[in-house]
């Protein structure tokens, strides 16, 4: 397939680098300011090198990527809240051209799910967004495979940064600020960690799960979620949990009509007490008990793997 990739961060760059391995051709790559376009396939190495040295991927206007020749638009720009722009507009343009869209950007799926589905219904193109939840872990496709009606609840650890901070604090008895600074040094936490530590990122993922579970009967946005983060949780709280055979994890929960993200006490040897940046999701099924799926929930190649899985599913249903 021919891919146009919008967003040249860790995820977009990985998609471009790995596309050939999956048998696809990248015809366009755009960052926030420019685009590189070639209907025969862009020179991936040259374009990424240009991005490293010049700060932009190419000489053309960003819109040239959206107008380029492609079968699938990969939307990997940073997540934005509210109107979810510019991501939503990119998706709209591609669907109006009857092209497929695969998203890694959570904004349009969490904040404007109904509009997104309406656009897809009116288009010959499809939308897929496995990469928006849990990186490489096949969560949404598993829900779809099991059928949303047979999943009664979903809960899990969906933010690697928060989980890294909590597991380091518990293991080393260190304070929140200390571990946050360490996480920033390691590149696990961003310079502005607000999105991760205040629970917004995990909440967006839960909202997307809720939308998939609701199958259009009800639409959720971030406003429907009850969100409490791990910001400034004292080391003493983790110590007390540990002394009782427990630990604290930032847990996202989706069950009948409620979406909630909050720090919770879990037994220290429970499946939910994953350590480091690892993510885990538990699905409660009607006929098959509990299903645990865990793995790497973030990162360029990991998220790109989910994008290629989505591309592989296009047109197969």
């Amino acid at each position: 397939m021919k891919l146009a990739v919008v967003g040249a961060g860790a995820v977009g760059s990985s998609v471009v680098e790995l596309a050939g391995e999956y048998g696809h051709t990248v015809t366009a790559l755009a960052d926030s300011q420019s685009a590189a376009v070639d209907a025969a396939g862009i020179d991936v190495e040259a374009v990424l090198e240009h991005k490293r040295t010049e700060g932009v991927v190419g000489a053309e206007a960003k819109t040239a990527a959206l107008d380029a020749e492609y079968d699938v638009l990969v939307e990997a720009t940073p997540t934005t809240l509210g109107d979810a722009e510019p991501g939503f507009g990119h998706v709209e343009t591609a669907l109006e051209r009857d092209r497929h869209v695969v998203l890694a950007n959570k904004g349009p799926v969490a904040e404007r799910y109904g509009e997104l589905q309406a656009l897809a219904a009116a288009s010959d193109g499809e939308i897929r967004f496995e990469a928006t939840v849990g990186g490489a872990i096949p969560i949404l496709s598993t829900i779809t495979d099991f059928d949303a009606k047979h999943i009664t609840a979903v809960r899990g650890v969906l933010n690697g940064t928060a989980n890294f901070i909590l597991s380091r604090m518990a293991a080393e008895g260190l304070g929140y600020e200390h571990v946050l600074a360490e996480a920033q040094d390691l590149g696990v936490a961003e310079a502005d960690p607000t999105f991760d530590v205040e629970g917004t990122d995990a909440a967006l993922k839960c909202v997307i799960i809720a939308n998939v579970l609701a199958e259009g009967e009800h639409e959720y946005t971030l406003d429907d979620a009850t969100v409490e983060g791990i910001h400034e949780l004292p080391a003493s709280a983790l110590e007390l949990a540990k002394a009782d055979g427990r630990t604290i994890r930032l847990i996202g929960e989706v069950s009948s009509d409620t979406v909630r993200v909050s720090p919770r006490l879990v037994p220290k040897d429970s499946a939910l007490a994953v350590t480091g940046t690892r993510n885990i999701v538990q699905l409660e099924t009607t006929h098959a008990g509990r299903l645990n799926i865990s793995g790497r929930g973030a990162g360029g190649p990991e998220t790109a793997s989910a994008i290629f899985a989505d591309i592989g599913r296009l047109g197969s249903r």
Partner: protein, 176 residues
């Protein structure tokens, strides 16, 4: 697709059985069905509980997930589970309160919690590394009646909100 790193541990389950043929076998089946390893059974025939049932103590090995499933299966079978693990099942809630606990009158908070939620504080631990004026944490083990956990937690949230304290709740319905 499972990535369970759960360790297998020994558990003691106390059951109350109706004095009827086949009851003991019925109580043991869920343990084997869920993959638990039966270690010993202490069947006190001749000894009756206040409700006129026969107390049975079962030692078994399982991981936490299997153990949850075993207890759920026993309850589904209508078998009375008096105690599971080290705790009275579905009658205790462990929470952690975080904030200016001492400044906001800790003993008042505790008595308010007991009165408003109808629970009793079974166990209490305070950690105040920054001294009395700083932020501290407290772990509380609240004893409550089964089926009341959500109501109790709702009331705890209200009281904590009034005193500007954070509550770290257990994961209801999950593995906590």
């Amino acid at each position: 697709m499972s990535d369970s790193t759960d360790k297998v541990r020994a558990y003691t389950v106390r059951l109350e059985l109706v004095d009827r043929p086949g009851e003991l076998l019925r109580a043991l089946e869920p343990i084997a069905d869920q993959g638990g390893n039966l270690l010993s059974i202490f069947h006190e025939r001749g000894n009756l509980t206040p409700r006129g049932h026969i107390p049975v103590e079962v030692d078994l090995e399982a991981n936490t997930e299997q153990f949850d499933e075993i207890v759920a299966a026993l309850q589904e079978e209508g078998i009375n589970v008096i105690q599971a693990g080290a705790e009275r099942y579905s009658e205790e809630i462990v929470i952690i309160l975080v904030g200016h606990l001492v400044d906001t009158d800790l003993s008042h908070t505790l008595s308010l919690l007991q009165e408003e939620t109808g629970t009793s504080v079974r166990d209490f631990s305070l950690s105040a590394p920054e001294g009395e004026s700083g932020e501290s944490s407290a772990r509380l083990r609240l004893a409550t009646q089964s089926g009341q956990v959500e109501d109790v937690l709702g009331t705890v949230r209200e009281i904590a909100g009034e005193k500007d304290l954070r509550v770290v709740e257990p994961l209801a319905g999950g593995e906590a």
